[in-house]
């Protein structure tokens, strides 16, 4: 399947009703937009996001010192 292809998915009516309520006054214009957003976020692995560890912190500080910033 190509990356830009789209396929229909069956979603129970009670969930659709809940989504309709949820997206009232939100930035989502359609149910489809909301469903894509939720699915994409659930597929993202957040483990890669972390604060700088001590080694990284020291490397960043050294770079900033070399630039004359610190």
């Amino acid at each position: 399947m190509n990356e830009n292809d789209k396929v229909p998915v069956e979603i129970p009516g009670r969930i659709i009703n809940k989504i309709k309520k949820k997206i009232e006054n939100s930035e989502f214009k359609t149910i489809e937009e909301y469903v894509i957003f939720v699915l994409r976020n659930s597929l993202i692995d957040d483990s890669a996001k972390s604060t700088l560890n001590p080694d990284e912190e020291e490397q960043v500080k050294e770079t900033l010192k070399k630039l004359g910033y610190l």
């Binding site: 957003f37 994409r40 990284e56």
Partner: protein, 519 residues
């Protein structure tokens, strides 16, 4: 409403007056062509106009009081720890995150504060504040660095600019190679990847402007100073490289019916004075350091050795052993008189060392602050001053009722500073409530010294308060950046008279992409 793709070319520290001058003189032919059918004007930067705060504001459309990104070093409270921010510290949703929600694909290359990268609908390579390009967290999706044959060693390289005396050839060579490598990667990705918004940031224009400004005679003239080097043309050469990149981007934009935005986060002006903020606070008794002794300096040296030679166990062990042995002998000395003599000898000797060697012994300033005797201090590079408030920070000593009194006293000390001709050195000292709004205003510096014409230094071994510009920073940030907008439907040139706020640029992008009502 248009429904365009958009390409953003972010040129750090590029000054509008230099762009217009060199365009007129024929050095920037692609920008000259572009300027015939664009809207252009000045960007009103953040305050202070430092890249990390400014680009965070651009990336979110919000001020620092909401993004919580004020400087390159932030202090957490109530813990009191100092650290450099990462992408996780940005408190507001970015342009690309909002657009991804609307199923728009975004490519984000080399922007500051994007490390560690996030997994987005599109692609990303991190920029300034990336520890090293030789790790996974710098790029998404996995394998993209390999796919575009990115020279990670080149992008990871940095020159110790303050340590360079006069020969800037290595610095220029590496900076220009990095600029060209980033341009190559961006162009290949523009042509090969799928995107609705493509943004690329070039930091090198700012670094070169800081360092090489003094070689430009008459602020922009390209008359040769020395035929053996091209230092006087260094900034022009960086602009020319950007012009060449813009030429390629124009062609790609035509094929994609895309709009182009070229912008800088601030401009650049000559430095008139260098100011050591902490030395003035020290003079007024508002800041006190622990006594710097041989033990502290040798410990710092041992840390540096451990970090520098972490991959060479033998050398690291030998040097660390030597350093720690000397330190042990020093600590075992029973006579304080002898210790004082060694400290004095050490300190005086270090002052005569070149800066590159000095920095081996110099601890980060905040590690030397005696908090129980300190009411105010400065850290970072944006001219911020923090009050050591009781109840906010560990060992805070300033009572809430004295907060305003101390701030007014500091403002008065700094605004009284005059140069040799009796002219005030500083334009203004701002109170934070006059600059910022938002829920993170408590994290902001309590005072901000205006940047214009001044460079702030934090050299531990220097006792001066105001001094002449240091060699490595002869140009520094101004509040005015560049804004150029090319929309495919434009057929004439319009100068935007009123400066555009950096916060507004994201809304222009949303408008061009047909999603102006994005929240």
């Amino acid at each position: 409403m248009p429904n365009n793709k958009v390409i953003v070319v972010a040129l750090d520290g590029v000054a509008l007056d230099l762009v217009l001058r060199w365009t007129k003189e024929g050095y920037l032919p692609n920008i000259k062509n572009l300027l015939q059918t664009v809207s252009y004007g000045t960007i009103n930067s953040t305050n202070p106009p430092i890249s990390i705060q400014a680009w965070s504001t651009f990336m979110t459309g919000r001020g620092a009081g909401e993004t919580c990104i004020f400087d390159y070093v932030q202090r957490d409270f109530p813990e009191g720890s100092f650290r450099c921010p990462s992408s996780n510290d940005l408190k507001i949703e970015t342009i690309w995150s909002k657009l991804n929600k609307l199923d728009k694909k975004t490519g984000v290359l080399f922007f500051p504060l994007t490390y560690p990268v996030e997994k987005l609908n599109g692609f990303m390579i991190s920029g300034l504040l990336t520890p090293s390009y030789n790790c996974e967290k710098v790029a998404f999706p996995e394998g993209i660095l390999k796919k575009y044959n990115v020279d990670t060693d080149l992008l990871s390289r940095s020159i110790d600019i303050p340590a360079v005396k006069n020969d800037y050839r290595d610095f220029l060579d590496i900076s220009m190679k990095q600029l060209k490598e980033k341009s190559r990667i961006a162009l290949e990705m523009l042509n090969s990847e799928s995107w609705d918004l493509f943004m690329v940031h070039f930091f090198e224009t700012d670094a070169i402007s800081h360092t090489m400004w003094r070689f430009m005679e008459n602020e922009g003239s390209t008359k040769k100073r020395n035929k053996n080097d091209n230092f006087n043309e260094a900034i022009l050469n960086a602009y020319k490289q950007c012009d060449s990149f813009v030429g390629e981007v124009v062609n790609i934009a035509k094929n994609n019916q895309a709009s182009i935005i070229i912008l800088s986060d601030h401009g650049e002006v000559p430095v008139r004075n260098t100011l050591n903020i902490n030395n003035l606070l020290r003079r007024e008794g508002l800041l006190n350091y622990y006594k710097l002794n041989s033990k502290t300096m040798l410990s710092r040296l041992a840390e540096k050795i451990a970090s520098k030679y972490k991959n060479n166990n033998a050398l690291r062990l030998i040097l660390s052993f030597g350093c720690n042995s000397v330190n042990l002998v020093y600590c075992k000395l029973s006579s304080q008189v002898v210790k004082n003599f060694i400290d004095s000898f050490f300190l005086k000797g270090i002052k005569f060392l070149p800066r590159s060697l000095q920095s081996l012994f110099s601890p980060f300033q905040h590690t030397m602050i005696d908090w129980k005797k300190t009411q105010a201090y400065s850290i970072g590079c944006g001219g911020g001053i923090w009050i050591n408030l009781k109840g906010k920070y560990p060992d805070g000593i300033v009572e809430g009722k004295d907060y305003d009194k101390i701030r007014e006293s500091i403002i008065s000390h700094f605004e009284r500073l005059k140069d040799k001709e009796g002219k005030p050195i500083l334009k203004k000292v701002h109170r934070k409530e006059g600059l910022y709004k938002g829920k993170y205003i408590d994290c902001a510096p309590d005072l901000v010294i205006d940047f214009e014409g001044v460079h702030f230094i934090y050299n531990f071994f220097d006792n001066s308060i105001v001094s002449k510009p240091v060699n490595y920073v002869s140009g520094n940030h101004s509040h005015e950046g560049v804004f150029i907008l090319k929309d495919p439907r434009m057929n004439n040139c319009k100068k935007i008279e009123k400066a555009l706020d950096l916060k507004e640029v994201s809304n222009i992008i949303y408008y061009l992409m047909g999603v102006a009502d994005v929240k």
